[in-house]
Amino acid sequence: MRAARRPGQRIVGWTLFFVWAMSLAGLQGLLTRHSAGSFIPDAALVLSVVVLARAEAGDLGLIVLLTAFARAATSGEPPLVLLTGILGALLAALLLRGAFELSGPLGRTLGTLAAAGFFQAFVLIARDARGAGSTIDFVAAFGSAIPVAIASAIAALVLGPLLARLPGLSPLWSREW
């Protein structure tokens, strides 16, 4: 059952979701600045999967848009690539929702693994595809995505409950948690 929420509360909830996502993306940027970032989790995407698990499926568009905004503020990738990558990533997680409870440990771990893996690979493939005269290296793209996907899945497993309790997000939940 969806908890009765006033529109004002949901607006505040979405605003805070954006602020949290952007802050996590910013922290992730700081962590990766001195390293290639292979095993650093995609924290903003982990938060998105956690929220997706508890929000209504119809909120997918808003989650995608706000996550893409948060990423665009902290990344040099073209906004269209971020938007598409995050949409694909969260769709991959959403498809798993039919088989697993995404808010549970196994579901959110697998959902984040799929989402982070897809997103990282898509960004690398898009970079190749957009480069003048370059060829797309699918194997390298998915190979590079694996460490980030694993790190993100572990982060979702360990930190998922904590992220779900971040201040201001509860108005977004579709039922009482």
Partner: protein
């Protein structure tokens, strides 16, 4: 409102359309999405407090760069002086009754690699048809003097298919044979590192010999062109292709790389006094300060930064980012007082480089260097395609070297120091492991090269 299951098909179809547009950009859609994301620029400012964590590190970096600036600028000027020296002819006979104006190559025409955009001191008296040389080799001639950008012009290389230059072949006969040379011999343009220029006899046929410029036409334009007489073109070759004889001039001069500085040849009236290069790398008026909102990039393996400027700066795509005399990256997107830059280590970064081997003065033109990524210790990986004739005059081309920016990229002045690496031996693809002089990762403020001022279009 549609349920998730009801709208699933629509969402999936939309995702596929977006994916297609993301992989094969369609400019109107790209612009529309960029516009949608404009608020993200302002939201980014909220992240500025994250920079406070590294204030001490940033201050130390800036202080260190300031301290080193005077010495690095001096060594940069020595490097530029060596490049200018290399652009002037060595043969004293070629210097007689001529004046030489060294011009910096800004870029190749994106649509025609046989056209070079060059910069020279404004008001120096450069005119169309003046020959352009590098060392003792003929390069081409001035095709156009830009009326909107003072001190800029276009040089047409001898490899351009429209280019024709009178030449003389010196064989054993008392009088040289006449030739017309220009463009490349189709499909046989390159033999290893050598180019094969097209040629046809104007007088008696000869089998071989050294080819130099020898203009014979009359008139004021021809007089200007004739200043190139005696400059080297190459060696005459008669090749056989399916029973057909092909005449060509083989030249070891690499017109595709290494054209960082060239010399415009004129009469004694040509004003040759001026700064080392017209585009002085250290002219404060050509740099502006930019703030970095967040010293990090949330995409792994990327090292981009969002820049904001204190004023309405004339920043163009390709502009260099520097700290003192150090090169740290280039602008890859610019609009409305904001820009995105790719730092050293970001895969979107490319620049022209020169190497100065330890213990040597002469720079070696490396051509394009493409950033591949970076290691945890801060080393930057650069892809470099080494040519066969890398250092024909210096003899040695391997060993520890310092890397600096070369001329030839608009927005990047020659002579900014990039870092140190070991140049490997042999031609082909190499990955250089460069220790950057300036680790750009933690910077929160950089200098950005400004575009030159545009002049009003004349009547």
């Amino acid at each position: 409102m549609l349920s998730w299951s009801g709208s699933r098909t629509i969402v999936l179809a939309g995702a596929f359309v977006l994916a297609a547009l993301a992989l094969r950009p369609f400019p109107p859609v790209e612009r529309a999405v960029d516009l949608l994301f404009v608020p993200a620029r302002f939201a980014r400012e909220l992240l500025r407090p994250l920079g406070w964590f590294s204030t001490r590190e940033v201050r130390a970096t800036m202080a260190h760069a300031d301290e080193a600036f005077a010495a690095e600028r001096e060594s940069s000027r020595q490097l530029l002086a060596a490049q200018i020296e290399a652009a002037l002819p060595l043969d004293p006979r070629l210097r007689e009754n001529r004046a030489f104006l060294v011009a910096e190559v800004l870029e190749r025409d994106p649509d025609d690699s046989d056209l070079l955009r060059v910069r020279f001191p404004p008001g120096a008296g450069v005119e169309v048809d003046m020959p352009v040389v590098q060392g003792d080799a003929y390069v081409g001639r001035v095709r156009e003097v830009d009326r909107r950008r003072a001190g800029e012009g276009v040089v047409e290389l001898v490899t351009d298919e429209r280019h024709r230059v009178g030449a003389a072949v010196h064989d054993d006969a008392p009088e040289p044979a006449g030739l017309v040379v220009g463009g490349l011999v189709e499909a046989r343009a390159r033999r290893g590192s050598a180019f094969l220029l097209g040629a046809r006899f104007e007088s008696r046929p000869v089998a071989s010999g050294a080819v130099v410029v020898g203009e014979s036409a009359a008139g004021p334009r021809a007089e200007r062109r004739a200043r190139a007489d005696g400059f080297r073109l190459g060696k005459l070759r008669v090749l056989s292709d399916r029973g057909r004889s092909i005449l060509g001039v083989e030249t070891a001069f690499d017109y595709a790389h290494g054209l960082s500085a060239v010399a415009i040849v004129g009469g004694p009236e040509l004003a040759t006094a001026g700064p080392l290069f017209a585009d002085d790398a250290f002219d404060d008026a050509r740099w502006t300060s930019a703030r970095i909102a967040l010293a990090g990039d949330s995409s792994p393996r990327r090292r981009t930064r969002h820049l904001s400027f204190d004023d309405s700066a004339r920043v163009e795509v390709g502009a260099a980012l520097g700290l003192g005399a150090r090169f740290v990256g280039r602008v890859v997107e610019a609009s409305d007082g904001r820009a995105i830059a790719a730092l050293l280590g970001d895969p979107a970064l490319e620049f022209g480089g020169v190497a100065v081997l330890d213990g040597r003065r002469e720079p070696i033109q490396l051509g394009r260097l493409r950033s591949l990524g970076f290691d945890a210790d801060g080393a930057v990986l650069l892809e470099w395609i080494a040519r066969e004739d890398l250092a024909p005059t210096t003899g040695r081309s391997t060993g520890p070297a310092r890397i600096a920016t070369a001329a030839g990229d608009r927005g990047v002045p020659a002579g900014l120091w990039v870092g140190a690496c070991v140049l490997p031996e042999g031609p082909g693809r190499h990955v250089l492991r460069l220790v950057p002089l300036q680790d750009p990762a933690g910077l929160l403020r950089v200098r950005v090269r400004l575009a030159p001022t545009m002049l009003e279009e004349g009547p």
